[in-house]
Structure formats: C-alpha cells, structure tokens
C-alpha cells in the first residue's frame, strides 16, 4: 500500500469505512489518523497520514506469537487465526506501531488489508472510500502495477524503519 501524504487531509473516512466493513467493536479502531506538526509558529510544516498495520515483511508479531496464530498469508498480508490466539499479548507488545488490540471476545485483532475483499479482486475499504484518492493498493511484486510505479518514481518513507520490520506501507512525500 502507498499513501500520499500530500493528498491526505485527515478526514477519517478511512477509519469509519474500516469500522463498518470489518464490524470493528465500538470504541476500537484498526486504522487512525496522525497529524505531525514540525517547527514553530508561523513557520510550520504539517504532515497528515492515515496509519494502520504495516503488514511488515519482517514481522515481530509473527515471530513472538507462541502458537502460530499470527501468520503471513500468500501476498504478504499478516492475519490472526482467532481460534489459535490465546490472548497473551506478546504480539501487541512486539508491534512498534501499536497496531494491534485485544478484541472484546479475547483474541487479538488488527487491520487485515480487508483480506476478504482483496481475494475477490477488490480494494480494501479504506482505499475505496478515500475522497482524495490518496491511497493506492496493489501488488509490489508486479513492476507494471500503479503502486510499483509510484514507489519507483516518488520519494517515500516508511514508519519506524529502525526497528527492522520492513513495513509495506509507503508514505509518499
């Protein structure tokens, strides 16, 4: 996934779309908005971005999971098998993005990139509803995909690169 920080206005449509699509319990969220202001008034610089699980390539959550409930599926999306999760919290502690939480039913939950939609060839709900079209979803292994071209041609950054997680959400600058 790539998110264009120059286009994001922080409207939170992605947050609401996710909650509706994935039946996220009230009071919880799988994605959120972060606004970073740098500098002192009047010379300020503002960055707004929509954040969620980074579906890392090197996953600390999958590594620390004692039962194998957290796993990576074909294509790189990280999922949690509810019936295998014991709710120990190791993955929550291991995530530098604090992207996971314990579902009221006991298992650990997080963004799935709307895996159920992706397997049917649709975009994740957040990408679909974004009114500024700041989010791009696609296959990074396919060099002709729109997202591959964007990541090749635009400047980007990833979050918390020092933790070595190789996050798969690229924030375009």
């Amino acid at each position: 996934m790539a998110i264009d920080t120059l286009k994001c206005v922080g409207c939170s449509d992605c947050v609401v779309a996710c909650q509706v699509e994935n039946d996220v319990p009230v009071g919880y969220s799988r994605d959120w908005i972060r606004e970073i202001t740098v500098g002192e008034y009047p010379s300020l610089d503002l960055e707004i971005r929509s954040e969620r699980c980074n579906q890392c390539d090197n996953t600390p959550c999958v590594r620390t999971c004692p039962t194998g409930a957290s796993h990576v599926v074909e294509g790189g999306i990280v999922l949690v098998t509810h019936d295998e999760c014991i709710g120990c919290g190791a993955c929550i502690e291991s995530c530098p993005y604090d992207a996971r939480y314990t579902h009221p039913e006991g298992y650990v939950d997080k963004c799935t990139f709307c895996h159920h939609r992706v397997v049917e060839g649709q975009n994740p709900a957040c990408v679909e509803v974004c009114p500024t079209n700041c989010m791009y979803f696609g296959d990074l292994d396919d060099e002709n995909s729109e997202i591959s071209k964007l990541v090749r041609t635009r400047k980007w950054k990833v979050l918390e690169p020092e933790t070595g997680t190789k996050p798969q959400i690229f924030y375009l600058k």
């Binding site: 009071g27 606004e35 202001t37 620390t64 039962t67 999760c85 709710g87 120990c88 919290g89 650990v108």
Partner: protein, 309 residues
C-alpha cells in the same frame, strides 16, 4: 525543532494513550518462576555434588515450595490470557522463534519435575506420613529412585527457565527498555539470588548458611554490575534506547528503581551480608527478605516501565 504529534480516531483499550497490556500478573510470574528456577538449580546442583546431607535446606526443604511458586505463577499467567480457553494451542506447536513458546514447553517439563522432586523428599521431613492408596507409595519410590536423572535435567532446565523470563521481554525491539541482551542474564542472576535467599530463610546448618550467604553476596555483586552495564548500554545505544533510559534516570520510574530495587533490594542486603560474614549478628530473615523484595520490584519496574517506552 519542535515536533507535535496528534493521533485521532484511535482510543483502543489498553493501547492508548500508552501501551498497558501486561499488568501485575506477568511480573509476578516472572518473579516466582525466576525464584523457583533459582531454588531448583541449587537443589539439583548440590544433589549432583553429593552434598544433599550438607545442604538440606537447598536440596530438600526449599524445593518443597517450588511447585507452589510455579503453580501460583502459572495461575497468574492464565489470569492474564484474554482467550484462556484456547491456551492448549500453546502445546500444538513448538515455535523456536518465540521465547514464550519455549517458555511454555520448559514449564511443561519443569513443573512436574519440581513436584516429583518435592514429593520424593516429603518422607524425610514427615517420616510417619501415610498415604490412602498403595500406588502413591509406588510413585514415591519411583521418584526417589530417579533423583539423579531428575537432577541432571533440572540443573539445565532451571537455568533455561530462569534466563527465559528475561529473554521473553528482551525479544521485543518495539520496546527499547526491554530490548537489551543484558535482561536475560540479569533476570537469571536475580532469580538465582532470590532462590539463594529463600534457601537461607529455611537453613539451619552453619555451613549451609555460610555458603549461601557467600553465594548470594556474589550474585548481588554480579547483579549490580549487570544493571550498571545495562544503563551504560542504553546511554550508548540508539536514539530510542537513550530516550527509553530516561524513564529510569529522572523519569517516572527513577525512584522506584533506584530506591526500592537497587537500594533496598541490592545495596542494603549486600551491606548486611558483608557484616554478617565478618561475624556481626544479623537476623537471617532480614537480608533474605530484602533480596526477595528487590527481585520482585525489579520485575515489576522493568515490566511496567518497558511498556511505556
């Protein structure tokens, strides 16, 4: 350059505003597991050295309490699980990458061994004890017969249990305060030290008291060295670790750490033990309880402080 970060749309329970997933259950278990590991290590070591009669507190008395410690610790762990009905899933797989997985398997081995070890010595303490069923006598005889192989397994696995409690926390690079390789050896030393202190509480023989006072003093000195080394490591580490160490150096957990865990839990008992070895009369219970208290505090402070970083 000033930076302001505002997060909106997220207020997840136990995650926001600061991560607070693990409560008292985890550090209590880390402490009890570490202390039980310490006792079982000294018990099996002295047994293998053929010193069971010289050091009865270490080999026979203190281990009687280890099954209780481990079971209370495990009960605390179960309380912490948010999906406990699925905890059997731990035993469907061995995940070498996950410290919690090999901790679960280590406990699967050490817990019954601690019970069998303790059970094999019950008769020495209560010679007249009678059991209602015949098969219990058979089990008792069997446990007594296999003490040597049990001791060999325990001497290795008690160390693994002791060090795993630290490695469990140090395996999270998202939490810079925990993410130091010193934490494994530090928790192991602290567990051994608490184990030695517990043995001292029950010790009556002069020779045993003297040996374990010396051992405990040595372990305290090693712990002080490891803590110093850990702090130096943070200060010389990455930006995240320098920032994380502030929590112990002026931040929220400065006083609990330096006064309770370090001062009352290490320095004070060390002074008392030196005085004791020089012939001063010190009630045995005092330095031992201080060491155990310090070991408990260390687990609580590191667990709580690390989650914030």
């Amino acid at each position: 350059m000033e930076e302001n970060i505002i997060t909106s749309g997220r207020n997840n329970h136990l995650i926001d505003p600061v991560l607070n997933v693990w409560h008292w259950e985890i550090p209590l278990y880390l402490f009890l597991g570490g202390m039980a590991a310490g006792i079982l290590f000294f018990a099996s070591l002295q047994y293998l050295r053929g010193k069971a009669e010289d050091y009865p507190s270490a080999v026979k008395y203190a281990p009687l309490f280890t099954p209780i410690m481990i079971i209370v610790g495990l009960a605390a762990l179960m309380l912490d699980l948010k999906h406990p009905l699925y905890s059997w899933q731990l035993y469907t797989i061995i995940r070498m990458e996950s410290p919690m997985s090999w901790g679960a398997w280590t406990l699967m081995l050490v817990t019954p061994l601690s019970m069998m070890w303790a059970f094999s010595y019950v008769r020495e303490l209560f010679p007249k004890i009678k059991y209602p069923y015949k098969w219990i006598y058979t089990v008792e005889k069997w446990c007594q017969d296999i003490r040597t192989p049990m001791a060999w397994v325990l001497v290795v696995y008690s160390i693994i249990l002791g060090i795993y409690t630290g490695i469990l926390l140090s395996a999270f690079n998202a939490r810079p305060l925990w993410n130091t390789t010193i934490l494994g050896p530090l928790f192991l030393t602290s567990g051994l030290s608490a184990g030695a202190a517990f043995i001292l509480i029950l010790a009556k023989k002069k020779k045993e008291i003297h040996l374990f006072t010396e051992i405990d003093l040595l372990l305290i000195v090693i712990e002080i060295f490891l803590i110093t080394h850990m702090i130096m490591g943070y200060r010389a580490g990455t930006a995240a670790q320098i920032e994380a160490s502030e929590i112990l150096l002026g931040g929220k957990y400065t006083i609990p750490f330096w006064v309770f865990a370090f001062g009352i839990g290490l320095i004070l008992p060390a002074i008392l033990k030196v005085l004791e070895l020089r012939g001063k009369k010190i009630p045995l219970l005092v330095p031992s309880l201080l060491v155990i208290f310090g070991s408990l505090m260390l687990r609580f402070i590191i667990t709580f402080a690390g989650q914030i970083t």
